[in-house]
Amino acid sequence: MLATRALSLIGRRAISTSVCVRAHGSVVKSEDYALPMYMDRRDYPLPDVAHVKLLSASQKALKEKEKADWSSLSRDEKVQLYRIQFNESFAEMNRSTNEWKTVVGLAMFFIGFTALVLIWEKSYVYGPIPHTFDRDWVAMQTKRMLDMKANPIQGFSAKWDYDKNEWKK
């Protein structure tokens, strides 16, 4: 790691010492000099402090039992020790949510509402469209554009068959 490369031999020992300190649950000085705090983060797997600060009597007893051979701990005790140290497991903190459904739903709702606003506008606000959009006018206009061979290479008139007098298939 860059930290161990950048620092000297003293630094190397400090990093490995901090890993040992984390494993035994005491507070660790973080590299960026922020106050030590607990966080459930995928990219910070060993938080600075334990999740539970003040242990009850049974939890204290369990911590004492932890100092002995771990094979004597039952499965539930191991889980209890884990929950003292950590709030959420990796599976819990990485779980997906249904937030996207809410976001997509609200977005579609507001788009739909906007559509209603536009329909109202067309009915009550806008005037009539110009007469050049009438079907007859557009037909005459198209004929004129074809007669003047507008865009004959790849564009408009290129798609008209002048021999058969129809659009190319």
């Binding site: 860059l2 990219d43 050049t132 004929k143 790849q154 564009g155």
Partner: protein, 227 residues
């Protein structure tokens, strides 16, 4: 002229416009490639479960993504400058036409041989003949001979305008007190439409340009009739 559902440029009517279309294809392809690469990388960044928190350097890739964009820019600049200089080549125009921009119409002067000048106003929508194009037709079109180089001198009598005909690859600003020159050389006859391309007041959208490219005989007859 523009046509319904048009996606790209209008068909080229002059050799310069053909060059510009090819250049546009070349540059747009580069742009699409870069954009899709960036979009792909963003998608990768947003859909990974991997993390890496220690600082690191990346000298090799940093060198590549500095040199490669410089190379790409050179690949765009070289054709661009080539076309730019091609537009200014000496081409011995047979005719010089002057156009002055006004608020809100164009006026044209053919003064090489006779004193011919006229104004070119847009035809209002209510006065259109059946089948004519709304906001594009004018009362007096600019009739010019086809397949010959023509010099256009463009200026303005009041505010900034811009004389543009997309299918010929022309767009030249009309600036009061200044003469700008453009060259027209059309491959084929027909009507070619353009619109004022510099905001010039309330009727900026309503001062179009219509070129009528015809054979030389017809042009001669027309200019005689107009004087």
């Amino acid at each position: 002229m523009a046509y319904p559902s048009q996606l790209g440029l209008q068909d080229a009517t002059s050799p310069i416009m053909e060059e510009l279309m090819n250049f546009h294809d070349h540059t747009l392809m580069i742009v699409f490639l870069i954009s899709s690469l960036v979009l792909y990388v963003i998608t990768l960044m947003l859909t990974t479960k991997l993390t890496h928190t220690s600082t690191m350097d990346a000298q090799e890739v940093e060198t590549i993504w500095t040199i490669l964009p410089a190379v790409i820019l050179i690949l765009i600049a070289l054709p661009s400058l080539r076309i730019l200089y091609m537009m200014d080549e000496i081409n011995n125009p047979v005719l010089t036409v002057k156009t002055m921009g006004h608020q809100w119409y164009w006026s044209y002067e053919y003064t090489d041989y006779e004193d011919l000048w006229f104004d070119s106003y847009m035809i209002p929508t209510t006065d259109l003949k059946p089948g004519e194009l709304r906001l594009l037709e004018v009362d007096n079109r600019v009739v010019l001979p086809m397949e010959l180089p023509i010099r256009m001198l463009i200026s303005s009598e009041d505010v900034l305008h811009s004389w543009a005909v997309p299918s010929l690859g022309l767009k030249t600003d009309a600036i009061k007190g200044r003469l700008n020159q453009a060259t027209i050389s059309s491959n084929r006859p027909g009507l070619f439409y353009g619109q004022c391309s510099e905001i010039c007041g309330s009727n900026h959208s309503f001062m179009p340009i219509v070129l009528e490219l015809v054979n030389l005989k017809y042009f001669e007859n027309w200019s005689v009739s107009m004087v």
